[in-house]
């Protein structure tokens, strides 16, 4: 069915996408969930915390941001109809955490497995007051340094900036800070 036929069927005019707008300063009344930061429940074998701070271009923490993560399971699989390898029923894969007054967030998860042709990674969206559109980055892990050498996405990033995409070991888990602007600016992607 062509888009014209689909449009006719639903009686609508699909002349383009709805634009993005900022989440504004008050996103934390609407978007947090009690279990939002838990990609996996506490106590899950292999669960680790990824903590971090969002910084602005002046080096100040951003207290009105939100981080969302999306990732494969430890076998590199998803629960999604468009994965041609089939679905892993019940794998949520999604985490969401607003930043607190110190600009800090935390996500509880297990490390993803490798994807076909790609090193293990999380896709990350950052929303905030002052961001008219989300920014997208990735978290890679120091545990997979060998795989990073062959990862096509890391290869597309200037060598000097790749470090911004690799989490640091921290307190039994990981630390991944996001710098929106300025020295050490995190690599952001056009997704």
């Amino acid at each position: 069915m062509t888009s014209t036929e689909l449009g006719a069927q639903f009686g609508a005019d699909f002349d383009g996408s709805t634009p993005s707008q900022t989440v504004g300063p008050f996103l934390s009344i609407g978007l947090p969930w009690p279990d939002g930061p838990d990609v996996v429940p506490a106590g899950t074998p292999g669960a680790v915390l990824i903590v971090g701070t969002i910084f602005d271009g002046a080096g100040d923490p951003v207290p009105d941001a939100m981080v969302e993560t999306w990732q494969a399971d430890p076998d590199g699989r998803f629960d999604h109809p468009d994965d041609p390898r089939g679905r892993v029923a019940g794998w949520r894969g999604f985490g969401r955490c607003p930043t607190d007054e110190h600009g800090d967030y935390v996500i509880r998860t297990v490390l993803p497995g490798a994807l076909p042709d790609q090193a293990p990674h999380l896709d990350v969206s950052v929303f905030a007051r002052g961001l008219l559109h989300r920014v997208v980055t990735r978290i890679y892990f120091p545990d997979h340094a060998d795989a990073h050498a062959d990862d096509p996405v890391l290869a597309s990033v200037p060598q000097s900036r790749r470090v911004t995409l690799i989490a640091a070991r921290h307190d039994g888990g990981y630390r991944f800070d996001v710098r929106l602007q300025g020295p050490g600016e995190t690599v952001f992607f056009d997704a």
């Binding site: 689909l6 996408s17 679905r87 896709d123 900036r161």
Partner: protein, 253 residues
Amino acid sequence: MATPTTQPGIEQSKVAPSELPRYRPDPEGTHPPLGFAGYRSTRLRHPGEPLILLPQRLTEVTGPVLGPGRLGPLDHDLTRQHAEEPIGQRIIVHGTLRDGDGRPVPDSLVEIWQANAGGRYRHKVDNWPTPLDPNFTGVGRALTDAQGHYRFVTIKPGAYPWGNHDNAWRPAHIHFSVFGRAFTQRLVTQMYFPDDPLFAHDPIFNSVPDAAARQRMVSRFDLDNTVEQWALGFRFDIVLRGRDATPFEEAHA
């Protein structure tokens, strides 16, 4: 816990790009630039380096499937979440969630948040001196149905002043958050009301370069869904990025 259901004959290590859907980029001017001088808060928060193109592979063409388990029975009705009704003009806000080819996005989570009738959010740092409404939280959630349709009952939010520039006021709006089918489609936007005189003065609304695209953020008054003696209807259709058909779909068309 999780049960793999692997299709036979497909190896983990081999997923050709042709096996995956491909989401088309939106035309230039559809979305705001990250740095926009009129909106001061962008100044220290927009990246200075150019964005790097992320190829669409498995992580990008999949996304969270957030279903009914996340909703309470009154999450879609912001006028019935407290002991009494909130102050304000009762409205119905409804529409469809579709992709750019008209495909409905069914069973998908739609989240909204908004100010009360006086223009104040129930948030600890909102100190705009208009009263909070004890009967209004301003947060709603709904799932799209099989046709991609969603529906909320709420009250019309008020305009409110902000410190961006002299005598700055935000047009009345409701924040919307939708997921679509894939990570690439994730969208947070704001729904506005028709004919708001504040549009001309609002840098957030005007940050969208394309004039036609700006109008896609404005809901339409909907007499057919206005309920007699009860509530005004507004229609807000949300369109996400379109995608090219996968070989699988074509083979079964």
